[in-house]
Symmetry: C2
């Protein structure tokens, strides 16, 4: 699966350089040809064979043994592994019985005439073989060696090809304009995650924006109509897994478009650029409201490759005598919910169940009630006797319970129980897979649109006030506009997320194009200082077209497509968890005199405390 | 010339949106079709006609006058200019005699049935018409309005298309891999022009690199073989005309390539991506050594669209009696040189000649001797009588002097006289063109390779020491390697510049791939701290292939291709001369508490002095 599918036209990898062919491309169709190859010595067998590697693959070179070729033999036998050599010779058949069917070039070998050592290699910190396990820190420190692995070559080349297909689709087929927007910009109000860049004017700073959001909207006001950019974005959030301080998004904005238009565009774009070595995508993608995603999967990014859906069983207990459940159901938003873990009774150990219950109390302050079903669907649970037989049957039906399944029950406020069960659903899936069950097919790409998000959320540190659920330029849902002036917390937005296998890989919205509405939301509802966004508000006053867009997270998309363990495996030179470049040792100290032009000085933590 | 040439396949501009057609695409072939258009009101004539504009052009809309369409009429008559409207109606022929041949859609008009005001426009700071002159500051402040001009639309769309063609060429035809490299990196030793970015670790900074130089070389060590990137680069050099703090380069690196290979690639790349509305490029481009460029044009980036070459006339004066010339010629590198200004005697005023002489004394501390030739080629100059008749005839022949030309003579050290005359050559060309002479054809694209640069230059502040003429990774010329250990100042490099119409639009080199040689040059010759580049030196030890590359300055290339007055006209959101974003007012002050996470504080100029 590490062989890239042929493109419509095979590119010429040998133009403008000294070689005639790549090592990896040689086949029996090349028999008899005189070739010149350049590559790295992968290994040598008994000074008779040498395997030469380049980005396309491996080829076997026969080291000449006759006296007249002594100098060629000396070069090829003495050069250390991973040295760079150029060889010229003839493509010949391997002797019968010596073909290697596991090797793409396994039917041929090179009978060498001349050889040149282009560069010798010193002793390596690790072997350049995909199966040799290295720590990630070592890989990152010697990234230029790690990049020689077939896996990294595949990942980076697939990324390049997939982005190229996206560009063809957007630019050549649909008239989008690729426009570069600045990355030295002004700090966004409240943009706590923006890196700052000191300028030569005392006290003045640029900032590195988290996205080209303002620029893409201003381009629509400027009549550019269809914009896209493979945009470098920056986010300073210290060390979080699968986040990088700089990352890349496929950034798109269109005028005169609605939500359906953007969704169709993205579906067709992904279908067009999807790697040919995977199953073709089926469009349109399914869609789900935020409310449904939360109540069914306990998250706004459901992994829909498997079931284990959350089921509301409150109605079964409306007339229960169990006091604690009565209490819960009498609260506002009080519910009783459950998920069924297939074969959980069979696979889970006591310890697993304890871990699950601890997670529920520690992270959600909620009790979890596990019910174990035996082979006869008999209940094994402390509550078994408090529940009537007909309720049990109803539960079996609602949760589609099979023999040896396990059910997790919880009671509490709607959002909280959903989040808890959503979290447990993923935890249990991990546990089941660790025990050998196949729940999530790695060849399955399960796309999902999540729509109808709330426009605002209560502020975390001050729930009496509102903040934007996404960003303040998101347009309200047309059906809910009247609520803006009465119950703004109930307004849904025209935001949409694209989810793949439980990861958010894109998000966008129809934007506000009415200056009055934008001012009302910014100033009255969000209580932001509108002066800082005056240029954007003014732009809306000067004939802004209705517009909307989306951004796809390229690193995460490629990570899922290649099945990589981390986004660092689809980035050529990623930073470590802590934001360090382990190869060059960035960030690093710089002498005070180099800070002087920027009128800043370092205040050590001790200085300020 | 503002109409883009058709692409191989015309993109669908109307997919995924509400309109059926763009305003600008409608022709007689659309007659009778029901269309829905979205656009801006360009102008209105007597409440009868309205001209609607989108990115593709203008179309005339007939405002209905009958009572039944009163609401449509009201919308179309009341909406201010630059409001956004959607209209539906039928494409009809204009009445005979009312066709407008100057308008691409001039044979048709739209008979409107329905209209909707999508957004109303307030009073504008300037009219959206290309012929209305605005100051650049006003254009930058309201960039989103300036972008609506046909010229800016053309420039940005041409840029997008040309870059797309380059990508097709590199990626699809020649197997290059588009790889994104980090922009948060480590400060380069001596990188005084690199912006710094404080990290959350006290005293540690990233820097924004001036180019992906180190990364592209490391990719070659990593076996990526053919890399390209449309790379964002950063350079903090305050305010210089036609420089931007962030700029874009087409960045290319190849393994196993020589200088000829890179040059052929670039020639073919430009030929392939050259706009179809210009004359096709003729390849290969001419080539000239640095020494020849300096002695003939007085610069390393000659504008070869016109003559006025520098001629060395020292030999004519070897036996002169003129003491001052004897003195000069007896000095090392002492020369006498001249350029001939065509029709200079006719066009130049006394004042012009004074300006030229003043420039020579002020900037070069050199005397210039002007010789005016009349219609009979008679000399008018104070030195006329000191020069023998046969010398005069020889001068006429060498400089190809015509009637009424002017000759500028100077004597002094070779490099200095060349630089002076090179400067005067361009000054005089400007003056001649200001007087109406056509010297430089605006349709002519005169490409030139300049090669064989010196590898080192004497340090400006300490001429006893050497610094890299370009960068320390440039490989020496193979014929000069022995000189590295004896006379390093005489070593030529494998650097090459690409010059277009007197502007440097690209530069590159074959790199050093030998760790020993790289260490010797860095440590012994350049006296750099090799620790800061240890990762690169180490990489060369681990099987680095021979490699080389180039970078093309995309902004400047597009500026020349579009004939724009400034690179700011080919960038969507450029910074001002002083590095400001005049629209959003970046860079800006930020409150001290937002600097605290970065452990920096502002030191006002008064603090430190």
């Amino acid at each position: 699966s590490l062989v890239l599918s042929p493109q419509r036209r095979i590119p010429d990898f040998n133009s403008f350089v000294g070689r005639t062919n790549t090592c990896g491309e040689l086949r029996t169709s090349h028999l008899g040809q005189e070739v010149t190859l350049c590559g790295w010595i992968q290994y040598r067998r008994q000074n008779i064979f040498l395997v030469l590697r380049d980005f396309q693959g491996l080829v076997q070179v026969v080291i000449p043994q006759d006296e007249s070729a002594a100098s060629v033999k000396k070069i090829l036998c003495e050069a250390p592994v991973e040295s760079v050599v150029q060889v010229s010779g003839t493509v010949v058949s391997r002797p019968p019985g010596q073909e290697n069917p596991k090797m793409a070039t396994g039917e041929i070998e090179i009978k060498v005439k001349t050889a040149e050592l282009l560069n010798s290699c010193k002793k390596l910190p690790f072997e350049i073989k995909d199966f040799v396990k290295k720590t990630e820190a070592l890989r990152l420190q010697y990234r230029y060696l790690d990049l020689r692995s077939f896996q990294m070559q595949y990942n980076l080349r697939l990324r390049s090809q997939m982005v190229m297909k996206m560009r063809e689709y957007l630019c050549n087929l649909h008239g989008f304009v690729d426009i570069e927007t600045p990355t030295l910009f002004k700090k966004t109000p409240g943009g706590a995650k923006e890196f700052v860049v000191p300028s030569r004017e005392p006290g003045k700073f640029y900032s590195l924006p988290q996205s080209p959001q303002q620029f893409k909207q201003l381009l629509m006001v400027g009549g550019l109509d269809r914009y896209f950019q493979v945009a470098r974005c920056y986010r300073d959030e210290g060390s979080r897994p699968d986040r990088q301080p700089e990352f890349t998004q496929i950034d798109i904005e269109m005028s005169f478009v609605d939500q359906t238009g953007i969704q169709s565009l993205i579906e067709d774009l992904l279908r067009y650029s999807w790697p040919k070595d995977k199953d073709p995508l089926i469009v349109p993608f399914p869609s789900m409201t935020f409310a449904e995603a939360l109540s069914t999967y306990g998250t706004d990014k459901p992994d829909t490759r498997f079931g284990m859906k959350i089921v509301d069983i409150s109605d079964m207990f409306r007339n229960t005598k169990i006091e604690i459940l009565q209490d819960v159901l009498s609260q506002p938003q009080g519910t009783i919910k459950a998920i069924c873990i297939p074969e959980g009774t069979k696979y889970f150990k006591r310890k697993d169940v304890e871990t699950i219950r601890k997670l529920a109390t520690d992270q959600f302050n909620q009790e979890i009630l596990p019910v174990f079903l035996n082979a006869n669907l008999n209940w094994n649970s402390p509550v078994a006797k408090s529940i009537m037989e007909e309720q049990k049957l109803e539960l079996l039906r609602l949760l589609e319970i099979q023999e040896e399944d396990m059910v997790l029950l919880t009671a509490g406020e709607h959002n909280k129980t959903c989040s808890l069960l959503g979290k447990l659903r993923l935890e249990c899936a991990d546990l089941l897979e660790a025990r050998g069950m196949v729940l999530r097919d790695s060849a399955l790409f399960s796309f999902l649109w999540v729509v109808d998000f709330p426009l605002f959320l209560p502020k975390e540190d001050n729930p009496g006030e509102l903040e934007s659920a996404h960003h303040p330029f998101t347009a309200p849902h047309p059906s809910d506009i009247h609520l803006l002036y009465t119950e703004p917390e109930k307004v849904r937005s025209q935001h949409y997320d694209l989810v793949l296998n439980g990861s958010e890989i894109g998000g966008g919205s129809i934007r506000i194009h009415d200056a009055e509405l934008q001012r009302y939301i910014l100033a009255t509802l969000l209580k932001e200082d509108v002066k800082l966004l005056s240029h954007l508000l003014q732009a809306l006053d000067y004939g802004a077209p209705p517009h909307g867009g989306i951004a796809l997270g390229l690193d995460r998309l490629l990570c899922l497509v290649t099945g990589a363990a981390s986004i660092r495996d689809v980035i050529a030179f990623p930073k470590s968890f802590r934001g360090h470049d382990l190869m060059s040792n960035a960030p690093d100290y710089i002498p005070p005199e180099e800070l002087r032009p920027y009128h800043i000085q370092v205040s050590r933590p001790t200085d300020s405390e």
